[in-house]
């Protein structure tokens, strides 16, 4: 539904208006600025767009960037799913869901397939996402080059001039020291053949999902005040060498103890009583569907 | 080939309050291509000065040094640019000084090989052979080929000096007392080598402390006074 329609139809969903806040908690001017920043980010894939990050009723470091994007885009007819480390039931995810429902009146779901907007911390859902869906990722540290260069002025210059030799040097040194690239999450990628980007602390497992996807990926860093994006059908290539290629986590011989999946990212859990290790799907929604396929 | 015209050199020593020293005055002579001019005269008369002016180690105060360069045509060495003088030194003009400029960590063989390689562009093996051959003729024992000349005797250093200057067959060769520290046998070898060079067309200007020796090799003698 377009904004004009919503206004014309007497603002359905407006009853979700606690304590006099506008729809979606943020005022229209703020949302519009965030949307402008998002458009700029989409126009320059992988480029970190600085924006005026608003105060949220959640502390910095708990997903305020992701929340601002979600609130700026959400419409009353959207269906929202929020996950934290793949789980719909974590404290963080639940609190965010309750907050957005309160200020926007949207329907909430744990079914990836049914959602139109998915906000996530540090995981991408196992189910392939569609062109009509948007994934909003919460980002703690947007700067991929921070590991090799502490100065913000210098990293901006490096991005502007595509002067990435020090990042590649960092990977070379890893290979010299450890025989392989040791980065496990925040694995640097080249977007659209131009910018090196930090895909947020998703595991390596999820990085290939970004490449030439149907879905729009939006990245929000509230504390650091940056927004960046990967539009659909954009190339996203993990940094690798010809003779030391990128590889994902190896779960050979392991399966989810709950649903039996062998093709999802697994969390390792130490069994406190019996000893030994158990593995469970990190993506709880995916696991649920496999266990109770009829109940959704 | 080379014609020196009223060459004058004086030094102005600023650190001694501008004291002037005359080194040579209005020197004029000509050397035809393939000729050998000897410079004679008492010590301090300016013989070395003349050679150094030609080689451009000294900047002439006035006068001209006209030289027929294979690369640049007829030029005046006194006023030529630094770069062009270097080109002439690299390809055409050689200089045997009284003292060997010792370069650390370069063996005697390498010292002689280097100019052959850079100027004549032969292979390493060919250059090595020619260098070794020259050193042998000049009676440098082969066990010294890999040694560093800094520790050699004066005579040995001088012979290496000569080998280095003649190895690449310059068109014009300037010699400043090339046989000063050599024994009779070595002197003869040097003279033979110079004679061979002359037969290949090299023009020479030389200072010899031994007048008799000089008169025996030079076509003409110019007295510097």
């Amino acid at each position: 539904m377009l904004m004009q329609e919503w206004l014309a139809n007497g603002k359905p969903g407006e009853e979700a208006d606690p304590a006099g806040y506008p729809f979606g908690f943020m005022d229209e001017g703020a949302k519009r600025e965030v949307r402008r920043s998002i458009l700029k980010a989409v126009a320059i894939p992988g480029y970190q767009v600085p924006y005026g990050s608003r105060e949220m009723p959640i502390a910095r470091g708990w997903g305020t960037g992701g929340i601002q994007i979600t609130l700026s885009l959400i419409r009353p007819d959207d269906v929202l799913k929020v996950i934290d480390q793949g789980c719909d039931g974590s404290v963080n995810a639940v609190n965010i869901k309750k907050f957005v429902k309160a200020v926007a009146g949207v329907e909430i779901t744990t079914n990836t397939g049914a959602a139109t907007v998915i906000q996530t911390r540090h995981r991408i859902p196992e189910e392939p996402m569609r062109a009509d869906q948007i994934l909003v990722l919460q980002v703690p540290y947007p700067e991929a080059l921070r590991e090799v260069e502490p100065s913000e002025a210098e990293t901006r210059r490096m991005h502007a001039e595509a002067d990435y030799s020090r990042m590649w040097l960092f990977l070379y040194e890893d290979i010299v020291r450890f025989g392989e690239i040791s980065i496990s999450y925040r694995y640097p990628v080249t977007v659209n053949g131009r910018y090196i980007m930090d895909p947020s602390p998703i595991p390596r497992w999820d990085v290939p999902k970004l490449n030439r996807s149907e879905t729009l990926f939006l990245f929000g860093a509230g504390r650091e005040k940056r927004i960046y994006a990967i539009p659909p059908h954009t190339s996203v290539e993990p940094l690798e060498f010809e003779d030391h290629t990128f590889r994902v986590e190896d779960f050979t011989g392991k399966r989810c103890a709950r649903c039996g999946a062998e093709d999802s990212f697994l969390d390792e859990v130490i069994d406190g009583e019996a000893g030994g290790r158990l593995y469970y799907c990190s993506d709880s929604g995916y696991c649920d569907k496999r266990v109770e396929p009829c109940n959704l | 080939m080379i014609s020196v015209d009223k060459l004058t050199k004086e030094f102005t020593l600023h650190i001694l309050d501008g004291k002037r020293i005359d080194a040579c005055r209005e020197i004029s002579f000509e050397v035809p291509a393939g000729g050998f001019l000897g410079l004679s005269g008492p010590s301090g008369a300016g013989k070395s000065t003349v050679l150094k002016c030609i080689y451009r180690t000294y900047l002439p105060s006035s006068g001209a040094i006209r030289y027929d360069s294979a690369q640049l045509g007829r030029v005046d060495l006194a006023t030529l640019s630094d770069r062009e003088v270097l080109d002439i030194r690299n390809k055409e003009m050689g200089y045997v000084s009284q003292f060997l400029k010792v370069i650390p960590r370069v063996s005697a063989l390498d010292v002689v090989m280097e100019p052959i390689l850079t100027r004549n562009g032969t292979t390493r093996a060919a250059a090595r052979d020619r260098a070794a051959h020259l050193l042998e003729r000049l009676r440098i024992p082969s066990r010294l080929f890999d040694a560093y000349p800094a520790t050699f005797s004066g005579g040995e250093q001088q012979r290496i000096n000569i080998a280095r200057a003649v190895s690449w067959r310059p068109r014009l060769l300037l010699l400043d007392e090339p046989t000063a520290s050599l024994d009779k046998g070595s002197v003869q070898v040097v003279l033979d080598i110079l004679q061979e060079l002359r037969q290949e067309g090299t023009t020479m200007i030389g200072i010899f402390h031994d007048t008799e020796l000089m008169e025996s090799v030079a076509d003409q003698v110019f007295r510097v006074s």
Partner: protein
């Protein structure tokens, strides 16, 4: 033969400057600080040509402006005046925008943006500093230091990168077994040689050597200088050798410039500078040599 690089009227001033700065500073005034406005003319009106396959020495004492000159030519600092033009060389073929059609020499490089200057620098120049901490990343392995330029140029095969780095380190007499160690563990002479290997990794046309053996033991110095000599010959480099040591200049350089208080007081063939110095200051310098 045409010069590779033509420098005319290069100047660097620290401070606001006034119209009396140039006439109030220099060797006659015995200062490089303007007595009227306090600005320092680190170098003024420096002009020279650098030819292919030659070594040009720049000799002077502290405050002469010789290191400033290197910083300006290496595009680390911005000049206040002057032109720097490069000949059309194959190394610059991928940067045609710096040349005007039909001209043998580039536009004034001092007018380029920082990005463009960096492009020229990466394509053409290498530098070795007196202090290895300026030229090397001490936390990175020796091989990594050499590899950085290669990685920046788009090399993406580890085996090939390591092979090239090992080749350069071997050529500068660093034991290849130590290529994965950080240079902070190396001796001073070895650190300088790693710097040289790093400077050569992108096959530069011009190599700047800024007091590279100052402070090293004599035997170490000899080894480094000899290495530089043989590398210059082998790779047909143009060297700009900055030193206060006439012995180093004598060993390496065919031509030399003498600087004092920011100005070039004399320039000529090295043997002429040493045996027939013309300027008062050059004569003093030569007479002071041990």
């Amino acid at each position: 033969m045409q010069p590779v690089i033509k420098v005319r009227g290069l100047a660097k001033r620290f401070g606001a400057g006034c119209d009396r700065c140039a006439s109030s500073t220099g060797p006659e005034a015995e200062t490089n600080q303007c007595p009227h406005c306090g600005a320092v003319l680190a170098c003024n009106d420096v002009s020279f040509d650098l030819f292919p396959n030659e070594a040009l020495g720049i000799v002077g004492e502290s405050g002469s402006g010789k290191s400033t000159l290197v910083r300006l030519l290496h595009f680390e600092w911005d000049a206040c005046a002057g032109t720097v033009e490069l000949a059309r060389t194959p190394q610059l073929a991928h940067l045609p925008e710096f040349f005007t059609e039909g001209e043998a020499y580039s536009r004034n490089l001092l007018g380029l943006s920082q990005f463009q200057k960096r492009q020229v620098r990466n394509a053409l120049m290498g530098i070795v500093y007196q202090n290895p901490y300026l030229g090397l990343r001490m936390q990175v392995s020796a091989g990594g230091n050499v590899a950085e330029r290669l990685l920046g140029a788009g090399w993406r095969n580890i085996a090939a990168i390591r092979s090239r780095a090992a080749e350069l380190l071997a050529r500068t007499e660093i034991p290849v077994a130590r290529m994965d160690e950080p240079p902070r563990n190396f001796s001073g002479g070895m650190q300088q040689r790693v710097q040289i290997a790093k400077a050569l990794s992108n096959k530069p046309l011009i190599l700047f050597l800024d007091e590279v053996t100052t402070g090293l033991d004599l035997s170490v110095q000899a080894r480094v200088l000899d290495l530089i000599r043989s590398l210059r010959e082998e790779f047909q480099l143009s060297l700009l050798v900055v030193s206060h040591d006439l012995g180093v200049i004598n060993l390496l350089c065919h031509r030399t410039m003498v600087m004092k208080y920011g100005r070039v007081v004399e320039a000529g063939l090295t043997d002429q500078i040493l045996q027939d110095p013309q300027h008062r200051y050059t004569q003093l310098l030569v007479a002071s040599q041990l």
